[in-house]
Symmetry: C2
Subunit: 458 residues, 2 copies
């Protein structure tokens, strides 16, 4: 009997994160004046220890003991050999996945919410604010705040707040406070409500409210937290890839293909970056970030300077972007419905180290059903995008008769997103693919911003 | 740093289940004629290999390789040291729990749904039927049927069907079919609908429909499956206690107190029975099944012969029972809202080997909140009943200054039951405690049935 899972003991959780900034060249984020942002400009938003981590050039960064001790609630996560999927596809490929759905909030997100809350607490902060769309990130931050005895306030996009009441209940069970956005708590919220009393809200507005709530606390004890895109966020996620590497080593395997879904880039980068280091050093690996065809940031949008949020509060980030005002079609892709992409992931795509792919909603959910019925776990809608590509690669391996080793990230379970499967099974969903014209239109918002340089890291 | 989790590799999953029938004396189940039921009378309902297991006197029963291979999707489950809870309660007790929430359906239920479907398949069965109340059992059976390529039809109590659409979506994602009960598919369902078109349904009706759907299939290829109460069901769950024992041995621990919530008795018996064997052999252990004060089967109801279902389809079982027509108050206790109890658990309570406890809804959910914020996992409403007793025992250990070792079963997570926490946090719930008069009234239904003997196993 082939072992399904490779498990490690707690003492084998990696002790350091891998910082890809040590190995690639990056364009700097720019402030409103067009000049590179200085750390102190970010100080009202993030604590200085995290800002230092955001710009650190060190290749390896120690994981604090306090963080390791909370990681141990669910880490090391299992590395699973997808034996049932292999059998169903009759493929010679050996398929492995990191099961990040085992964390209490059900996704990879607490890999960064826990250290973020820890660093804030060490810095003397008492309250955290953030936004959440589908609810995964707000849940993960509430979970982490409960662990450190911190207050947590989550601005949740109203339409999701109304459609997914379980997410609010989850956050509040952990002691967080979840507010529908736009709210009357912030000026940003009130302004929008005055103009559009019936607005369903947007991630852009929710980010504005969360940032405002943090910077306007005159006690200085509140900071804002972001769940993806930024360097320190992806850094924290590299515990996933480092663990996977260790686990594969114990059985003498090394991946030929690495696959992860990509919205802001954090679960993808978390798995892939430790292998990117090997690729930079000469290893031959195919590495695929996978995005929704309805939100084709890496596959269709240009590499530009753009804001991370609709309200233009963030610095200009060098990234692939569909434009900060872009509103993706209503596909069931949760956190993948984001206009931008982590600058690190964007840079690595530019250099050809990563090769981006896009899949349609129906292909993604069909793969989700196949994996639910073979490997047993019901995947999050985000994860199904990686799965569709895994299935495609496994079929290709069969055609080519190649014993490829495929590694992917099972970023979360879909137990709070079952509506997507219900609608798929009832044949109520269709595909959305953006036309070139729609993309051109969305891109107008960054036409006048400075352009990043085409850097070569190697 | 104290390790939070004791993990084992797949090769360490127990290879045999423990059958408590080998070590205790039991009254036999009785047929409609008042005589002991013979195996062939059950043949239209269950496959013969499971009927043989139901009455087997063997102490150890081999777990088939095919079952072990599917158990390996989530087993061995972690044994967790509840360090954060210990700290919060400042108790000298060392508290451990078996985390059964890690299975894909999120509870201990697949420990028996997987072998049940396996034995049915081996026997040549192609379709399974069952009922489900809150949805845990129907989900677990759908999951298992997907693994073995079997059809699955679940009759779900209409009120839950309407209130918990995610459960239906979950079952159907695994390929099961979920029908609101009463349905027009069965005579039992049609009869009820004719009389009471607006009935919310009941577990009793749903059982009737599931049994009828199985026995009326003239091809002989359909059988019914039950998720608790019966001997073979609790037998399959003993993998939990056997694993826990192994895990505790690796760190040189042995429990002084064992706690599990008890509805039909399967998660409780699964954890406790391997230790009951030790207790019978002279070990001093306190073992507590915990039930809702609103459904006090073991703590308030007599030991009698009664039917397992409202429609009186099942044989008469020797058990503690509130009466087969009993409808418990609307507490958030999911699968604990059952009028009867596993005959094995009942017998062991009679003999004083187990000491039953009852807790109120508000105490249970308060413990659920405490555990969510310390250990991180949001427990199922059922599990919170065990938790309230764990908290009480830990406080007692503190008062007494005793270094007790407490072991309990975290039977499932509450991610599809978050409404209970939402209402609790909003202060919308109250306690229900049954009056003696209400209990007397409910007990009239078994007044004329034969009485079981007061047996002594030791």
């Amino acid at each position: 009997m082939v072992a399904r899972k490779i498990v490690l003991s707690e003492s084998e959780i990696p002790r350091q994160w891998y910082n890809v900034l040590a190995d690639i060249k990056m364009n700097p984020p720019l402030g409103p004046d067009g000049n590179p942002v200085s750390p102190d400009m970010l100080a009202p938003v993030f604590p200085m220890n995290l800002i230092e981590q955001e710009v650190s050039p060190d290749r390896w960064i120690d994981i604090p003991e306090e963080v390791l001790s909370i990681y141990a609630i669910w880490r090391p996560s299992p590395l699973v050999r997808a034996v049932a999927l292999e059998k169903a596809l009759d493929t010679p490929a050996r398929i492995y996945f990191k099961n990040e759905s085992v964390s209490p909030p059900g996704s990879h997100k607490p890999n960064t919410s826990v250290p973020q809350v820890y660093y804030n607490k060490v810095f003397g902060i008492e309250r955290m604010t953030t936004e959440t769309g589908a609810g995964q990130w707000g849940s993960a931050l509430s979970f982490a705040c409960a662990q450190f005895g911190m207050e947590c306030r989550v601005y949740m996009v109203r339409v999701s707040f109304d459609q997914k009441p379980y997410r609010k209940a989850m956050m509040e069970t952990w002691g967080g406070k979840c507010v529908a956005s736009p709210s009357t708590e912030t000026k940003a919220g009130r302004d929008i409500l005055e103009k559009y009393p019936d607005t369903p809200g947007s991630l852009g507005i929710a980010i504005s409210e969360a940032i405002e709530a943090a910077v306007s606390d005159t006690s200085g004890k509140t900071r804002y937290s972001l769940g993806s895109v930024l360097n320190h966020v992806v850094l924290h996620q590299t515990v996933v890839g480092l663990e996977a590497k260790k686990q594969l080593e114990t059985i003498g395997e090394y991946p030929d293909v690495i696959i992860g879904c990509a919205g802001g880039g954090s679960n993808f980068g978390g798995l892939a970056f430790p292998f990117v280091l090997d690729k930079i050093n000469g290893k031959e690996i195919a590495i695929y970030p996978v995005e929704p065809a309805a939100c084709p940031t890496l596959t269709k949008a240009p590499f530009v300077y753009d804001h991370g949020d609709t309200a233009r509060y963030t610095p200009l980030l060098p990234m692939h972007s569909l434009g900060h005002a872009f509103v993706p079609p209503p596909v069931h892709a949760g956190g993948l419905r984001y206009h931008g992409m982590a600058p690190t992931v964007s840079q690595l795509v530019n250099e050809g180290i990563l090769e981006a792919k896009a899949v349609t909603q129906l292909d993604a959910l069909a793969a989700g059903i196949l994996l639910s019925r073979t490997e047993g776990i019901i995947p999050a809608p985000e994860t199904t995008h990686a799965l569709a590509t895994v299935v495609e690669e496994a079929k290709k391996a069969k055609e080519e008769g190649k014993e490829k080793v495929i590694l992917f990230n099972w970023s979360g379970h879909g137990l709070l997103d079952l509506t997507a499967y219900e609608k798929f099974l009832a044949d109520e969903l269709s595909n959305f693919v953006l036309s070139d014209k729609e993309i051109e239109e969305a891109e107008k918002v960054f036409a006048e911003f400075p352009k990043p340089e085409a850097l070569k890291s190697r």
